[in-house]
Subunit: 551 residues, 2 copies
């Protein structure tokens, strides 16, 4: 009898416990269920996150230029507000992904769910994985020994057709389309090999493509994927007493994994991976996700200037002894959120934006010290900047801003001239309110500096370019692009001679636009390149100017 | 009626589902329950793991010198076998933690459970956390301006009393105990500041203690914890045209976090953290846990040689411009599993064991290249090695082995001498079977080299030291330590004059042992230092010899 009672009690206990567990489970399930993602949804959301959000919010969602998107912060924001933000953007810099048509409503709702979940651990990438993606389409020995065409290939323009995954090669002399090369998704920039013969493209998905301009119809000769997320590529440009490194190496900077990858400049074979995970320069916090922003090659020694964004550290990476298993890295404490930058007129000093800090860092690449940290304006975005010799101020380097309408003119060291370097001697005001400038450009043979403003909220300013006089440092003309081409005016590049300026009309991938060529003397539209293939043109790079860092 | 039926069906459904869930939950609970750990157990096991296992198996349990201890591998081994291994060790190098009395049976069973669980994510350590542990007991300005005693402090011996968390300072002239300093748990090594005035100790728990030998009774003047797990500490030793860095910096190498921490040499204030997470030199796999093995200071330039164990990379870290926010690192591809090493006779070449690869790597610290990689024997363990000028072979650097009974004599470059460097010109055979040698030592004024063998399985060999003639390169005497002192003979150090050799008797913390001083001429026991305080003496370091890298 006692036993039966015990057994009953046990069964009752089990049932009560089971019910309690079930109810708890159900409640939990319901709470989690709201944001639960299937494997396929998780994969799709991760993919969207990588391509659309990681750039500003970081691959691990800990925040970078944009705020943290980890679940604990997301939980404090109503889902309706998250939707509004993704749909319509925010004045601080968050794009209007919904309104632009980049994300559908369903995709925005998927992303809201995704953000409520813990971020998936981002994968590593080994060299073995890189090898698996490496393709040499034309071996070096099978490539032309001299150009197979009579075109002036040093004046070729490489135009990124971003959202259709292509790069167009255009003859800068004749304006003819020479070739369209399939490069894969979302090419970020092109860089020339030191001789100019090759273009290297880097996709936001970490894919590098190498295009041979000597082929009758320029085409890709090699490709490799070296990251899941990347922004920068550069070639080795030094030839001198320490060796001949022209077209010898290519270096890629990863956003994720955070690393430098050095490739063979002739074949893209991966040679070396260097982790960039670092402690921040100031408060010495470990940043697994220390992303590589801009990389620029030195002309006077075998080295690259590499900017470690979150850590605020500039590396000078000497590649001279790479074939002996040796790399020399000088690490310079600089400023946080390093982004883009370029050489001064003498190519000894490198100036880079610490964008979220509203400062420009000047690095003396010869003495290997930080020469100055200069407050300029609201979120400087120089691209590579613009350089000129001014009759009063001497050498200048200029940057525009995302967050205000000024272009800051900074003095750089000038031989035989007493101008004190690293001063903002002038702020040029672009007409109209707000910033949104992405690029400025000049050429030593031109009397002008050109500026775009594609991220300005005003559609009229988005579609305008601004011409500045090099002497007066004032805007002398605002040019609105022709009405028939839908999209924003973005990126400026001179031809080799420095007498014309190319501007992209950045639309959507569903509609063709144009590449506009302005006469730099008359400041009038000289030629319009159109065609069904002209889809989302963004950056366009002149071979000669890119080789020689002319800007 | 229909409604009632529906409701019944729903209730039935709920009950069935609940029972099913409960049963599933119960089964799972049972499976996991077997190895489930309470929070307290997890903390205790993590602690034991850090102190006992992480050294060889890695903090993240991915394996290093020892195999992986991740759950998927552990699941393939019966628990009974795991118990045997932890209890009795393995011939490959796994110590007999149970038999030695380091771990109780309950603790071994706890560790088996722990190994079946996923490893807890090891924590980061920020500079802020380091600051929280930083204590300056005596400010620099309050320290003696000259020695407060008349002792010959350059002949002091610092003796690690490992398992009681103390360092004894002994007068090498009088053999008197001068002071006992509480340093905290498991000091691994001592290093002298460049002037010799300070001893820096590093604990396996990442705690650095700084002892001032000029005080009447030498005591700690500062301490800081800079890692959870660490093995190496070194001072800045360069004074010359590039600056005076004597006693200026201290550098610590972390096992976890994997980093270098540079401290102020006068106060131990943390100045800079540098991540050592790297890609392996050969197959370019990312190793978050790239641990810092030995660090040795250069005498001819302001740099440290830093060995990155898992990556197989040697760093030469130049600290000259540290105060300007600049660090220069030369990274040399070397060989995997770098461990301990030291300078050649000229102090230009650094030789380091790649222990699991059975090789010695020779680095030219001047030209900054790997000069040679030399196969020597089974798991070389040089400590810092032993150096001598041999009448026939010229300069030699010697290493013993954990895995065999040989001492390899390697030629190093000799001025004005044709001997080809980097050859194993002789293998000295220690008597008796097996390896187990940890340290060898010599002195320029001595005709002998001494070797210990504490890790040999033979208790007689464990308790013996071996004297080698520098000319014949043969063992001329085996000395068994006196029977009355229980423990193994470990570590050898000459006094400043080079005419006596100190040996520790390494017992357990429950019993006092002795420090034995042998006359290097007569090879007889000259003096025995005993006392209740002599507990687990291990390494003992002569100030003068440590300052000048005499070995």
């Amino acid at each position: 009898m006692r036993r039966v009672l015990q057994r009953s009690a046990i069964i009752l206990g089990i049932l009560v416990t089971a019910s309690a567990l079930f109810i708890m489970g159900f409640v939990e399930l319901n709470e989690q269920g709201k944001y639960a993602l299937s494997k396929e949804e998780m994969a799709k959301a991760s993919d969207i996150y990588f391509n659309t959000c990681a750039g500003c919010h970081g691959t691990t969602r800990k925040g970078a230029t944009g705020p943290s998107l980890l679940p604990d912060r997301i939980a404090t924001i109503p889902d309706s507000q998250l939707f509004q933000t993704i749909m319509y953007g925010k004045p601080g810099g968050m794009p209007d992904w919904g309104r632009q048509g980049v994300l559908s409503k369903d995709e925005i709702n998927l992303m809201i769910k995704f953000l409520h979940n813990e971020p998936p651990a981002p994968p590593e990438m080994s060299m073995e994985q890189m090898y698996d993606t490496w393709k040499v389409y034309v071996e070096p020995q099978d490539r032309p020994k001299k150009p197979e065409h009579n075109r002036n290939w040093k004046n070729f323009m490489g135009v990124i057709l971003r959202d259709v995954g292509k790069v167009a090669i255009i003859d800068g002399d004749t304006k003819e389309l020479v070739s369209i090369v399939n490069t894969g998704f979302a090419v970020h920039i092109l860089r020339s090999s030191a001789t100019g013969r090759y273009f290297y493209s880097i996709g936001r998905d970490g894919k590098v493509t190498m295009i041979d301009l000597w082929m009758k119809k320029p085409d890709k000769v090699a490709e490799i994927k070296v990251a899941y997320d990347a922004r920068s590529v550069e070639s080795s440009k030094y030839k001198g007493p320490e060796g001949d490194f022209l077209d010898k190496y290519v270096v890629v900077g990863g956003y994720w994994p955070p690393h430098l990858v050095i490739l063979d400049g002739q074949t893209l074979e991966p040679l070396k991976i260097i982790s960039t995970s670092s402690y921040t320069y100031d408060d010495n916090e470990f940043m697994r996700e220390t992303r590589v922003a801009s990389i620029v090659a030195s002309h006077f020694e075998p080295s690259w200037i590499v900017n470690l964004k979150e850590a605020g550290i500039v590396w000078i990476v000497n590649y001279k002894n790479l074939d002996k298993g040796r790399v020399d890295i000088t690490a310079l404490d600089a400023e946080k959120f390093l982004h883009d930058g370029g050489w001064d007129l003498t190519k000894r000093y490198f100036l880079v934006a610490a964008n979220a800090m509203n400062r420009i860092v000047a690095v003396d690449a010869k003495e290997k010290v930080v020469s100055a940290i200069i407050p300029t304006g609201n979120r400087p975005h120089p691209g590579r900047g613009a350089t000129l010799k001014h009759p009063q101020y001497g050498n200048l380097w200029l940057t525009g801003h995302l967050g205000d309408n000024t272009i800051a003119c900074i003095t750089t060291p000038t031989d035989g001239n007493g101008t004190k370097p690293w001063q903002v001697v002038k702020k040029i005001h672009l007409p109209g309110k707000g910033g949104g400038n992405l690029f400025i450009k000049t050429h030593p043979k031109s009397p002008h500096i050109w500026a775009d403003r594609p991220l300005n909220p005003d559609p009229k300013l988005q579609r305008s370019v601004f011409v500045i006089d090099k002497n007066s440092l004032e805007v002398i003309k605002t040019i609105e692009i022709p009405k028939e081409f839908p999209g924003r005016a973005v990126h400026l590049e001179y031809n080799k001679a420095g007498d014309e300026v190319w501007v992209s009309v950045w639309g959507t991938k569903h509609q063709s636009t144009a590449i506009l060529i302005y006469d730099d003397k008359t400041l009038t539209l000289k030629k319009t390149i159109t065609g069904d293939w002209v889809r989302t043109p963004t950056g366009h790079f002149n071979v000669y100017n890119t080789v020689h860092d002319i800007y």
